[in-house]
Subunit: 219 residues, 2 copies
DNA sequence: GTCTATACCAAGATAGAC
DNA sequence: GTCTATCTTGGTATAGAC
């Protein structure tokens, strides 16, 4: 077809705009990112940006949507391999850490833009919640598989909430100290203890302390 | 004296401006809060705001500074009462929760504005870090007292980091779901387990977690 | 210290040629 | 789909009377 290249160019421009916008918005936040900054970053004029997305809010929604699908396709398995709890928990935490490490803006976007909800459009608010809900669901399902919690949904919920708050807190810590990383070692210990506290069977390793099962303690 | 009332009026205006600015900035973020919004909220004209603070950045620094001193004077005791670890930990967590509950904007400010560091002035960045450092120090000292960690500073650091990330994560959770609160129960279990994991003596009490405390692992 | 009025500029957004 | 040029609004910030 003769029009394929044209469509291609448009699609690539669209991606370039989203790349620039995502980078800038995750860095400076939505309000502090201007169309001209995006234009300067990606090389296309402001009017092209408006042609693709219609409004600043439209860019915001598209950026979030792309970040969400990228994150979720990077987190395929809700079922976690491993014979016992400790092994599955390690696999889960490794997955979390890898996703965390490979999605530098995704989470900052969710956090930084989530704050702005109050003045954002309905579509933007919906997309933020969609993103958040997907993360919650994945975490709950994965932890449910790790600890075999199919009959204890409220426990799975608590563990997921705990894990996500830890992850959010780490994102926050990273903008004070960019070298901060997820402390999966501490999270491992904490999740085992929480599970044991709710009388979840954590067979195999000795009790919930499980010092034998160290992940990658950095020091 | 005849000038006292004038000084008073100025001081009260200054406070009113800071109240409005703090409220708006913790809600919408620094960039999305305009001088006219602050002016409308507190009733004083924009020029008065500039007379008091010189620039938008000046307001930002003053707001942060006031939030920091307010929070820190609300957290007086670095030493925590209690005969055993579980009791002191409960006292500590109660203190954290009370501070969390009574400082609705303080932490949101620190988080929301912390993100904006990249484009903020040097004074603003310094104030944000000052605030953050004060929080870290208080938490570390308090936990050090709870667990008697004077000779294990790196363990105190890890516990403090864990606690603060949990608190930050809860602040984030609150702007998705305003009814979210600090889960001090889970934090209690997790901190005890982390301390035990580092071979910190957590003698005998069964805390609130009945069965969470029976592992006095030896190395 | 507080007000009215205003300078100045960058923001978001659009028009219309190509 | 992309460009140049432009409109409008609202932003930060200041001048100067009171």
């Amino acid at each position: 077809m003769a029009e394929a290249p044209a469509q291609d160019r448009g699609a690539r421009s669209r991606d370039a705009i989203l790349d620039s916008a995502g980078e800038l918005m995750s860095r400076y936040g939505y309000a502090a990112t201007s169309i001209s900054m995006i234009s300067a970053e990606c090389g296309l004029p402001a009017s092209s940006i408006y042609w693709h997305f219609g409004s600043k809010d439209g860019i915001y929604v598209a950026v979030l949507e792309r970040a969400r699908t990228a994150l979720l396709t990077a987190l395929p398995p809700a079922e976690v391999p491993g014979a016992d709890v400790a092994e599955r928990l390690d696999a889960f935490l490794a997955e979390v850490q890898r996703a965390f490490h490979r999605q530098p803006h995704g989470l900052k976007l969710l956090l930084g833009l989530g704050m702005v909800q109050q003045d954002a459009s309905a579509a933007a608010v919906a997309e933020v919640h969609h993103y958040r809900d997907a993360l919650v669901a994945w975490t709950r399902d994965a932890l449910s598989a790790v600890f075999r919690l199919h009959d204890r949904p409220q426990v799975a919920d608590e563990l997921a909430r705990f894990t996500l708050r830890m992850a959010s807190g780490t994102v926050v810590a990273r903008w004070f100290d960019p070298s901060a990383v997820m402390d999966t070692g501490a999270l491992h210990v904490a999740l085992l203890a929480l599970a044991a506290h709710h009388d979840v069977l954590v067979h195999g390793t000795s009790g919930e302390g499980s010092r034998s099962r160290d992940v990658t303690d950095r020091e």
